[in-house]
């Protein structure tokens, strides 16, 4: 039996009276896109935040490869191979687009504590960054400040920074949001390619995309997983329809 790359075991999280996650377990295997859908406020982002370490679970375990990472700080988990994108674009506004990506690369390579060589003369880093920007179609915009990007362009930068981490696992929180129809199409293609590099835990409200991409889907409602299965299974699940999909003819 193949062992999962990322294994989330019985995670629970409460905010006061709000039960954000309850006993959530998901395994992520090689070459897989695992879709995570559910109504607004079901606890999807909370789950990602726990996996990446931004917030601490009340109980449960997170295992990456061989290692339990439940108690590691955020940066350690990132170093160990977790890349996440944020639901609300989280970029560094005062530096250029290119530098944003370089930052991610140097984080991945552990080259932060180099004090002498100017980044602008570091051709290796720059070339690598070009590659990642190309993949999201942002190369033309790489010399402007990240703060000057439009909303959709920020989303792209967000993804390209995740790519630059060359992670073991991608945690993507609504990467399509704000991309526009054209952007979503491109992104869909890209994610399909990406999964051969590392498995993806994908949160999306864009059903076209999720149904096109996901190998398996888990549905989270009120913090609990109410169903896990293939696209077809989920599509036809009556509970899911009622709680989430609605009458949208798919």
């Amino acid at each position: 039996m193949v062992s999962p790359i990322l294994s989330i075991q019985n995670l629970s999280k409460k905010f006061g009276a709000v039960i954000a996650n309850e006993d959530v377990s998901i395994d992520l295997y090689q070459d897989e896109i695992h879709g995570l859908i559910g109504p607004n406020g079901a606890g999807k982002s909370t789950l990602i935040k726990q996996i990446s370490g931004e917030i601490k679970q009340d109980s449960g375990k997170i295992v990456l490869g061989e290692n339990e990472i439940s108690n590691q700080p955020v940066f350690q988990r990132a170093k160990m191979g977790l890349a996440r994108s944020f639901q609300v674009s989280s970029i560094i506004p005062s530096i250029t687009v290119l530098e944003n990506v370089i930052l991610a690369i140097q984080g991945n390579l552990g080259q932060t504590f180099k004090f002498w060589k100017p980044v602008s003369k570091n051709q290796e880093l720059i070339n690598a960054a070009h590659g990642y920007l190309d993949q999201v179609d942002l190369k033309l915009r790489m010399f402007i400040l990240a703060s000057e990007l439009s909303h959709g362009e920020r989303r792209k930068l967000e993804i390209s920074m995740a790519l630059a981490l060359e992670p073991k696992v991608f945690l993507l929180d609504e990467p399509m949001a704000g991309l526009g129809a054209a952007g979503s199409k491109v992104m869909t293609k890209q994610l399909a390619k990406l999964k051969s590099r590392a498995p993806i835990l994908l949160i999306e409200h864009d059903m076209d995309a999720i149904f096109a991409l996901a190998d398996r889907i888990s549905v989270l409602v009120y913090g609990r997983i109410i169903a896990t299965g293939t696209v077809d299974e989920i599509r036809s699940n009556a509970n899911v329809k009622e709680a989430y999909l609605g009458s949208e003819d798919l």
Binding site: G41, S89, L149, H151, G183, H205, Y244, G246, E248
Partner: protein, 229 residues
């Protein structure tokens, strides 16, 4: 029907970079208008310009017959424009209820009405807006804009990040608003619903209006050329 909002030859700059070159659009009373274009083409900038949030604009912007190019933001809003900005700009340090009261004016839309529209908000009325889920925040900003009882509601990517069920509800709500006589200007990426709803469309390309017309005239050809669909 009279023209509510009329934009002609709009140019706009961020600091020294010009991003709008020649934008034109009109919204007639009671209409739903969609503004389309790929990422970075100037949709949001157009909206910011209408609301007086850009530091430098040129051209004509008229609302209800008077020019609003050089009056401060809050006065524009008071004339009856309600904004749902992109990127969920909730007031993070305020509770849900406070977010709503901050915007409230007297009129048909009050707390009870928006709570009816989004029951989830009532449930979370004491919660700090920064801790709401993405979709909940989105509901909040729509509700907040409604609290200003606008004549023209501007929605910039208002359904981003909403679950399909909720999104349908929003479309239905927009229908209802339209029936109540509120005019609406929408930017959204879900073409299908948008077109079903709109009376008229404008497409932007690099800061210029390059196409306008009724939805049925929007051929796949044009959609492919300007929207990449």
């Amino acid at each position: 029907m009279s023209i509510l909002l009329n934009v002609e030859g709009l140019k706009a700059w961020y600091e020294n970079t010009q991003v709008l070159y020649n934008v034109g659009l009109t919204v007639e009373e009671g209409q739903v208008i969609s503004l389309m274009g790929r990422n970075g083409m100037g949709k949001s900038t157009t909206i910011s310009s209408i609301l007086g949030m850009m530091s430098r604009v040129e051209g004509k912007i008229e609302f209800a017959g008077t020019s609003i190019t050089s009056i401060p933001s809050h006065n524009i809003a008071r004339k009856g424009i309600g904004l749902v900005p992109e990127g969920r700009r909730v007031f993070p340090n305020l509770s849900v209820l406070e977010n709503l009261t901050a915007a409230s004016t007297s009129g048909p839309w009050g707390l009870q009405q928006v709570y009816n529209l989004f029951p989830k908000l009532e449930e979370r009325s004491k919660q700090s807006a920064s801790t709401l889920s993405g979709g909940e925040q989105q509901m909040l900003v729509i509700a907040r804009a409604l609290m200003t009882n606008p004549k023209l509601l501007i929605l910039d990517e208002a359904t981003e990040g909403l679950a399909p069920v909720i999104r349908q509800e929003i479309w239905e709500a927009i229908h209802k608003l339209k029936d109540e006589g509120i005019s609406i200007l929408i930017v959204d990426k879900t073409l299908k619903e948008l077109l079903a709803l709109s009376d008229n469309c404008f497409i932007l390309e690099r800061g210029e209006t390059v196409w306008s017309g009724i939805p049925s005239n929007l051929t796949t050809n044009i959609a492919d050329k300007y929207l990449g669909v």
